[in-house]
Point group: C2
């Protein structure tokens, strides 16, 4: 039984690497079996189709992103940890980029993933709203009616489509610059709401820009 | 020759309707031929594959969206026409929604569309930047350094992924509410930059909300 679990883990790890780096579309179950040196029959015994491997990878992603998104809800972040948090969310998404880069196609083939993915988006939006509400409560940010909710939704959408948008607009950008630009663009959505007590928040953005220099 | 052109137009119109309403994935060339009552061989004579029909539809979309996006660059909008303009852009996108809802899959199958689509996104961003720069020049909007460019990019991205995002988050929403919510969400990205001279702009949003009520 331990051996079986191990093979499943090896299949998932190999599939994730191939999907992310070569494109999920280009990779067959046989390719995955070849990479880890097992027979296609053995792979089929563990996962009877590429779709099931994708579902297993999605389940792992869901567990991880839920942990990441719940952390600052359960335990408030220091102001200066907010931008680190944005990096962590982006890095989770980056690790699962084959899905984010091609989600409409994958969701059309595996419709059962649409509901859990939609719930992840809702959680992402709630987490951002919690963070923004705390910054508002502490006087760092000031919102007119409806603006905080709109910003939370926009940030959730920003994180969801940033990789697809960049694949079109900056197809030769490095992973580091894609993630940096994505975090910068998220932070720039928050700057117009700075209140009088936003010095520490402004220092964050300045620190961020210096680090890019 | 006139007859041939007419058949091509009928094929495109039928394909666009089927793709938009039933999903491009679900529709074959034979389905399209059936709808307009021609033989699959006749359709094949005009377009030797579904991909070529998609390319022809894309070319029409490109012509139309370029006209729409260039109009306010060539001839400045009155302040109160800015939100009407957002509706017009969204309605163009809505007319071509089979592509917007599934673009990563279509671009993977027809890679030649990626470069022209990326240029449309760049034009969209430039148009929004032109509109925002005029509103800034007239004192309606006030931007800190970098904010106007970031907002232009964000609006271009917002329009590009709004349909996909809504398909996940609000799968049962009506077309009217999807477009209204998309325009509202775009306007809400601009409100935090209102300057002292923004009364007319604030009136726009209020008029918009009243119209939804």
């Amino acid at each position: 039984m331990a051996g079986k679990v191990k093979t499943k883990d090896r299949i998932k790890a190999a599939a994730l690497g191939l999907f992310n780096n070569e494109g999920e579309r280009e990779v067959s179950a046989v390719d995955i079996a070849n990479v880890i040196g097992i027979s296609p029959g053995n792979l089929h015994y563990h996962y009877s189709g590429k779709g099931l491997i994708i579902e297993a990878l999605f389940a792992e992603f869901e567990t991880e992103i839920r942990q990441v998104l719940s952390a600052p809800v359960n335990k408030p972040l220091a102001v200066e940890d907010n931008w680190i948090f944005l990096y962590i969310v982006f890095e989770e998404i980056w690790d699962f980029r084959f899905f984010y880069g091609n989600m409409s196609s994958i969701l059309a083939r595996i419709p059962d993933l649409a509901a859990p993915f939609s719930r992840i988006l809702a959680l992402k939006q709630r987490t951002f709203d919690t963070l923004l509400a705390r910054l508002e409560g502490d006087g760092h940010l000031v919102f007119r009616e409806g603006e905080r909710e709109a910003l939370s939704e926009r940030l959730a959408m920003h994180f969801t489509y940033w990789l697809q948008y960049n694949a079109l607009r900056a197809p030769t950008a490095s992973p580091k610059s894609i993630i940096n630009h994505g975090v910068y663009s998220a932070l720039m959505q928050v700057t117009p709401y700075w209140g009088d007590n936003a010095q520490s928040y402004a220092a964050l953005l300045s620190e961020f820009l210096d680090a890019q220099g």
